[in-house]
Subunit: 404 residues, 3 copies
């Protein structure tokens, strides 16, 4: 036998000798049943958690990227005692006009026309009412006021005198908000929502206008959860109703309404089609308690120049409903990495099963002593001679903990 | 031996006696090879899934937060037969002017100047053509019409009579859209995109203007995928071309173009730099079939007051390209928690290897009988006397399932 | 014994015979300690990674969906040598007026009033200065210029002659930016930020106006990190200070300021309340090196019509601070799937412990030979007769690798 052959043989033994546990087969119905039942529980639980739940363990996920365009249609005619008769179209009541994921429909307003930079008496309030000029401080500006005081005390009305301010005059009196929304007719306006989404990780693109839908249907359809759940044209009144609100109520002081489009999808081929799910929810807090500045409004102005070059403006405090199209979703598609990770985690539970069965074997089974004796060899001084037959060297060292 | 010493000894035995499986070493090249090969497969597969894939198993991930500012430069001069000669600069054609992540470049339009609130005959269509006043209903408003009918039938032209409506008059005739985009010169406008991103979980901030780039380069550079892939200034024509579209085509009816900035990064120090990757994609559907309101347009108005205080407006139906800068990305960085989770999952696969090897051992190997007999002890009535020597008590209980 | 009974018995044996490893109990303090200590380490490490870290292994996570409304309050009066005295309110300095997640506060500006479409000499620069008409090319438009050249050379001032251009005239001279911000008073403006969030996966809704806060407090409070960390009203100066910037500095050339609201929450009932955390960060790059177009500005125009119908405009190059409200966050809630996945992964580490202890047993312990002999049975030719007693058939086949 040459040296290299011996070396090679030792390496082969080292690398390819296979070490396997010695096992004992126990023909006990009780233990066997516990073993199989535990195994069954783990597998069933694993399968349920694995593929039947909402979040599939074998899938990689990605978050949606989306673009939205909106286009409102409709017109209205207003003729109240306070205002002149007026016709309103899209260019008048949609602000901003672009129609992206958030659009505002004007429903009520306080208009203050012909404002110019000048001086006028403040609106009466405890801090602005004055008796004479001594009550007014030149240059003082109250954050809750409407301008910089000039130091004069002027007649606001026949009964009240207030400090004069430098401001856009006449001042806006926003307490005169109409009780019924001016553009009540806005409830019949319709909005077309076009939404394209992408899951970049999966290179998956989809529109909310479904492929099987034809153009003529799109021109006359209107969203309805029951009959037309995939029509992209929504009547404003329906949107507000679906959110559990009343349009006319909401129109007076304004509010924010979320149009939520859920694109959560299972992109595996065996799953069904990936379809958008619409839902609607009021996003601002309508309750008057614990609320600051309820409703939704903002001020904007249209600027004009008079013939002699002076700048005037029409200030509009616009109340209305802001519709926010919120697109969200997570898509999953089979991927090998999460599959392996989750499968591995599941497998390690199977390795717990023998632990349970062994515990049952040596604790609860009727013949636990018999099983224990065959299964376990105790390597102690006394047991050594009994259960170990081949040799008994230096067991005294073992007395470290087993001696009296 | 005192009682407490015995108790202590028993506890020590309980806590520190080590129970280890008895094993059998089998010097079989076949079984050993199956064992090592399966082990090798699992480890290799694990390593590939682990660190070489796109999604590193040892990393924690975070989603990008971003801010975008855009600034368009360029001017144009239009002089067509339909319109007056006019010079256009940024303040004229960029709507809204702020320049955030979405900006609109006006390329074509239908202008209806000098509209005032008044009455005029409707545009001719099957539902508006009338013979006399009986065909028109006062107060009726057709959603596809342009105003509220007054109940009169008026001459629209020398040949057609239509119902009169209350509206902004004259009515817009949007079928007269120029066939060639009015601002065809917009293709040479440039846009500077400034994008700052943050991965809050990793406190990582980065700009799309790279640190090594100097100001003078930035003032004259222009994005080109080949020569200047990191220049933040883009020619509009190039953006549209990269998306596989023709600018002049798209300019006529408008559209939406996505400028996608991908900040997916590996933030571990051994990975390379974190750089933005630009891509471009048309986001609206240009195909006329299965499409509603193709292209991209919206209406807005400029309001004026005449010398005698009457409000007039210029209605503009603006066609153009909306550029949406969409920033997305996921960053990963080494983190101990996912490392352990994934490593644990991988490890549990290694525990499967002996199962495979054992199965091969007792099923396929040539000496399976020999191995089986040494590996497995059957605790049955007959086998008991043969393989179990020390005792044989109460085996009759075991006959529960093994008796005939 | 019938045939079916035998078949049934065999099936019962196959299904319910329980195979368990034979084990050897070793009463060694050393090995036992290594075993228990390794087990202890794994469990402790597991528990730390499991529940004490930022990202709980037993939780499912979701990303926040949010809506923001903002409302700025405040007015200012400007009276500098360059401009006329003017009063500014919200409708003047907030652009766009809607108040969504991004709002711009005008702080400085270059105003060019009374521009009309006409011809005027270019601003002097090396490329526009001319001596006579020969230096100017009709129809030429320099991208850095301000209009289309008419081919004429005109007097720009008494000392300089430049090419005439067709443009909005007079041209804007934006080098005359005021050194001190015009609306320096903007630092005292306040902004109310209303933010509603949703975690759709958990059907969890929350507002940044906390339930226990009452309306009267909201009307007078002001955010302060120390005293009022949950007041939704912010003074602009404080926002800028918190971001480490100086308002007056930033107001001159403008900039972008991020108001970050972190809604990261642990939604399990045993965790505390879910509260927003505010932070502030300047998002643009203020350093003049490696920067293009520093600060933040944009141009917009107000359009007027003169009495004779000619369109004029006031061009405003607006400098100011854009405030971007950025809402982010991830919520976690106990979920069975990630719990099982992570628990499984943790468990598989426990299965490593015997491997470590066995290695210590046969390598480092003092009585390793004794333990090895009892633990491991070598199935070789020589050992066969010694350790294996029952039979010795056909061992020559095993000589494949063990022969010399």
């Amino acid at each position: 036998m040459s040296k290299s052959a011996g070396c090679c043989k030792r390496f082969l033994h080292y690398a390819f000798d296979y070490e396997t546990p010695k096992t004992l087969v126990i023909p006990s119905l009780g233990v066997g049943f516990v073993f199989r039942f535990t195994q069954f529980l783990v597998v069933i639980r694993g399968l349920i958690g694995w593929g039947c739940g909402k979040y599939k363990a074998y899938q990689d996920t990605d978050t949606v990227i989306s673009t939205v365009t909106t286009k409102v249609k409709g017109f209205a005619f207003t003729n109240t005692s306070d205002t002149e008769p007026r016709f309103w179209d899209v260019a008048d009541y949609i602000i901003p006009p672009q129609g992206d994921h958030s659009f505002f429909v004007l429903t009520n307003m306080v208009v203050t026309p012909k404002q110019v930079q000048s001086r006028c008496p403040e609106l009466p309030s405890p801090s602005t009412i004055c008796v004479d000029d001594c009550n007014c401080v030149e240059g003082h500006s109250d954050p809750r006021g409407n301008g910089i005081q000039t130091g004069l005390c002027e007649n606001y009305s026949t009964t009240a005198r207030t400090c004069e301010v430098l401001s856009w005059c006449p001042l806006e009196i926003d307490t005169k908000l109409p009780e019924h929304a001016l553009l009540a007719a806005a409830e019949n306006f319709t909005v077309l929502i076009k939404n394209s989404i992408t899951y970049p990780k999966f290179n998956f693109h989809r529109r909310n206008i479904l492929p099987h839908v034809n153009s003529s249907y799109l021109k006359r359809c209107e969203f309805s959860r029951l009959t037309d759940p995939h029509c992209p044209i929504f009547r404003l009144k329906d949107i507000v109703s679906e959110a559990g609100e009343d349009f006319q109520d909401m129109a007076v002081k304004g509010g924010i309404l979320g149009i939520l489009i859920d694109w959560s999808c299972d992109l595996d081929w065996w799953a069904g089609e990936c379809l958008p799910k619409y839902s609607f929810r009021r996003l601002d807090n309508k309750h008057p308690v614990n609320n600051v500045a309820p409703g939704y409004n903002f001020r904007f102005a249209k600027y004009y120049k008079t013939a002699d070059g002076e700048e005037t403006r029409t200030l509009i405090k616009a109340y209305g409903i802001r519709f926010d199209v919120i697109v969200f979703g997570t898509a999953g598609r089979f991927s090998i990495v999460p599959t392996i990770v989750n499968l591995g985690a599941a497998l390690s539970f199977l390795s717990l099963v023998p632990v349970v069965a062994d515990w049952f074997l040596v604790t609860c089974s009727r013949k636990r002593d018999l099983y224990s004796r065959h299964k376990t060899t105790h390597l102690t001084e006394d047991a050594d001679s009994a259960s170990v037959r081949d040799f008994s060297p230096s067991l005294s060292l073992m007395n470290l903990i087993s001696t009296d």
